[in-house]
């Protein structure tokens, strides 16, 4: 951050910050924790983490493969939690669609001829939606994903400081 006093209101950082703060206040307003049971706390942790990921993915919209994959994953997870039957159905059809598209674009298991297969597979597991990308797109998406992750970490660090004085 070269100039911490001026923030571009349309930058990724500000978009993510506003969305995340809004989600945080919503979570805190939703249910004040009555008991300190670990499950409750864990549930809230999951909700906060999902809010962080969702805010980041929404700030990137659908411009990137990884953001689309992450949004789809989060949405399918929430649907599945709400209504198990419909979630299963939609999950299956969506997965079929995903598999078909992946087979059309690339073969998931292919020898790129460059020799980085193991590392590339590991990277594919880390980056959301990486299984359907060839190595070229994977590296591109990784660069953007790293940039967004660093933004996310920066903002969350500041918020955590702010909360815990």
């Amino acid at each position: 951050m070269n100039n911490p006093h001026h923030l571009n209101p349309t930058s990724l950082k500000s978009r993510f910050t506003t969305r995340f703060l809004r989600a945080l206040t919503k979570i805190r307003a939703q249910k004040p924790i009555s008991s300190s049971s670990p499950t409750e706390i864990f549930r809230r942790y999951r909700r906060i983490k999902a809010a962080a990921d969702k805010s980041m993915a929404y700030s990137v919209r659908s411009r990137r493969i990884w953001s689309r994959a992450m949004l789809w994953k989060l949405r399918s997870r929430s649907y599945r939690r709400q209504d198990p039957c419909s979630g299963r159905r939609s999950g299956k059809t969506n997965q079929a669609i995903m598999k078909k598209s992946s087979n059309e674009n690339t073969t998931t298991r292919r020898e790129d001829g460059v020799g980085f297969v193991e590392e590339a597979d590991e990277l594919r597991q880390l980056v959301p939606g990486g299984e359907t990308m060839n190595l070229c797109n994977l590296l591109d998406e990784t660069a953007h994903y790293i940039k967004c992750l660093t933004t996310q970490v920066q903002v969350m660090k500041k918020i955590a400081d702010f909360y815990s004085f």
């Binding site: 006093h5 001026h6 805190r28 004040p32 990784t142 994903y145 969350m156």
Partner: protein
């Protein structure tokens, strides 16, 4: 990032190192303005030299001036009336470049009317397909048909069928992206191999994801702490105060006036410095 590399491959005449030869070409154009017209935007390379002259031109590694005068002399002697615009490699040190320019000249010689750059491209492709590119072999004339060409320069001695050309293009793209990643990811040295760099990238992504998890846990703890200690008045006041400040901060960010709020609330960030 990707578009630029593709465009660089689609330049009409990759066989010419355009930049170093442009000055010499323009200088030469100034010397002989009446006989040569250089169109910078669309290079129309039409040469009308018979084959023998090419040998004489390139066999002796004469200085630039001599080859140029040789060109002019021969072009004036040529019987074609159209404007002769020459395609010449003025720097004749590199053998491979010389060979390629020779190939271009030969492939486009005899093709007086059409000025399609595709023709010279097919010339390159044909020449490269011949593999060695000895001058004896390259004396064949070939039918020029416009077809899909890959604008990639093939180095001497490398396999040049379409598959390996595509492979080379892909590898170039991958290397370029790896280099970009190298700048982003700290701890990547240029001397490291590609596999090591990928390992570093994987470690970095994992560490960032762990940081996000840890920070969200910290936020959870902070929020539950505040919820938990809402009995005491002081805590409640502080909690309300903080919540209001958070809301106001959010409002400020939305309106874009983060300067004021940012300075006030993010003062603690100075301890972290640049991430």
């Amino acid at each position: 990032m990707a578009d630029f590399s593709e465009q660089s491959y689609r330049q009409p005449f990759p066989f010419l190192d355009i930049d170093p030869t442009m000055e010499s070409l323009t200088q030469f154009a100034e010397l002989n303005p009446q006989s040569f017209i250089l169109d910078n935007s669309a290079f129309n390379f039409q040469t009308f030299f018979p084959l023998s002259i090419n040998d004489s031109l390139f066999s002796n590694q004469a200085s630039q001036g001599e080859t140029m005068s040789g060109f002019i002399h021969n072009s004036n002697q040529s019987s074609v009336s159209a404007q002769p615009i020459f395609s010449a490699k003025t720097e004749v040190e590199e053998i491979s470049n010389k060979r390629k320019a020779l190939d271009i000249l030969e492939s486009s010689s005899g093709n007086s009317s059409s000025s399609s750059p595709q023709v010279s491209e097919t010339g390159i492709k044909r020449r490269n397909n011949s593999g060695r590119g000895k001058r004896a072999k390259s004396n064949e004339k070939e039918m020029e048909k416009p077809k899909e060409v890959v604008h990639v320069r093939a180095r001497r001695g490398q396999a040049t069928d379409s598959h390996s050309l595509a492979e080379r293009v892909r590898r170039g793209k991958i290397n370029e992206r790896l280099r970009c990643l190298q700048d982003i990811v700290p701890g990547c040295y240029k001397t490291m191999g590609m596999a090591l760099m990928l390992d570093e990238i994987i470690n970095y992504v994992q560490s960032l994801q762990n940081q996000v998890e840890f920070l969200s846990m910290k936020l959870t703890a902070a929020s539950t702490y505040y919820d938990f200690n809402s009995e005491s008045d002081a805590m409640e006041r502080m909690q309300r105060g903080k919540a209001e400040e958070a809301k106001e901060l959010e409002r400020l960010m939305r309106e874009g006036y983060v300067g004021i709020g940012g300075v006030a609330c993010f003062h603690s960030s100075s301890t972290y410095g640049p991430l």
